[in-house]
Symmetry: C2
Subunit: 209 residues, 2 copies
């Protein structure tokens, strides 16, 4: 997108609108800031998807009542923003606005780290469990739900990790720290603190339904 | 269970059967090995559940076509095993058999580590994201699926981690290693190897549907 969108914006007519729906914003939008047709461009991120890619992965109601983030709309022409908003609301999605830097930080936390965690968990299990039939038999829905994102395509995700590397590293460090806390509590057999940490983690209930 | 089951077995009549449905087996079954009524006891683990606990968490068809693991059935009387098998098959569940040590290793890999990973991920996000409304708006189904197990009860899980501590530590170390590999590839900007790791992780597709 960083390379292609400027070329597209070079060629559009004044009434046309270009919208992008990618997963990272900061470097893309910084690169476009001085483009003469920046006003005809709208940056968006529909927060919806599955672990599957391509046309055959289409499912009904994927976008229904989910959020689309619009970024840096103050640099887009009002009529272009209005058109794009109307498009998303008709799916029907809800609209949120974030500046590009905040968008990239937040998505690192609520999307990108989940994927790295799933990829790593899949590799963990695959590396130790040779008897795949046994896993298959025993794996319950909890396991499937945690590693489901590990089916996601590298073609989609490597560019995201490349673009959002610094934020992803920051949250990945925090995640490794949290796992290391659990590890050291197990080593010390400090199950009282272990209990408290799980209780703290439980407060995620307030956030996801 | 380690303390209560011997007392129950002390009191049963010869035709009665005691079945347990807990998540770890090795120390429990070792403690019962010399009990005079060991034959009337059947150890099982129905591999099904949700992140919710208690009677109000009941859902229809929870066990339908899932596996129950029976452990150390060679020490149970054949009629007791038959009764328990009939019970599970009528739910209707499928039956697998594992020795207690293998059971505890496999469940560490396909259930216990998923929970620690989810607890840690919830703490990661909660510790960094203060603006909870923002998470809520943006969190897509991928995030929810990865942290869903973080809603699980510490009353249920702390005893599991206590009993299966050594196996859980082993798999937790492996998981932290895998995350650290991703971390060091990000630091080195080695996105080719990153791509390969994701492709390897994708082979989990063969295992979970």
């Amino acid at each position: 997108m960083v390379h292609v969108i400027p070329k597209i914006l070079d060629q559009i007519k004044p009434h046309q609108v270009v919208v992008e729906v990618g997963s990272t914003k900061e470097s893309l939008l910084e690169g476009l800031r001085s483009h003469p047709n920046r006003g005809r461009f709208v940056s968006s991120h529909p927060m919806a998807g599955t672990e599957y890619s391509g046309p055959e992965a289409a499912i009904p109601n994927l976008f229904d009542q989910k959020y689309t983030v619009l970024c840096e709309t103050e640099r887009s022409d009002p009529d272009a923003v209005e058109l794009v908003e109307r498009m998303f609301r008709s799916i029907p999605m809800k609209i949120a606005r974030l500046d590009p830097a905040s968008h990239d930080v937040h998505t690192a936390y609520i999307s990108h780290i989940s994927h790295i965690s799933s990829f790593a968990l899949a590799l963990t299990v695959l590396s130790k469990e040779k008897d795949e039939g046994r896993i298959f038999e025993l794996a319950s829905s909890g396991f499937s739900s945690t590693v489901r994102l590990a089916k996601s395509s590298p073609d989609m995700w490597v560019p995201i990790f490349r673009q959002n590397r610094d934020n992803v590293l920051d949250v990945l460090d925090e995640h490794i720290n949290q796992l290391s806390r659990f590890r050291s509590l197990l080593i010390k057999k400090d199950f009282d603190t272990f209990y408290q940490l799980i209780q703290e983690a439980n407060s995620i209930r307030k956030i996801i339904s």
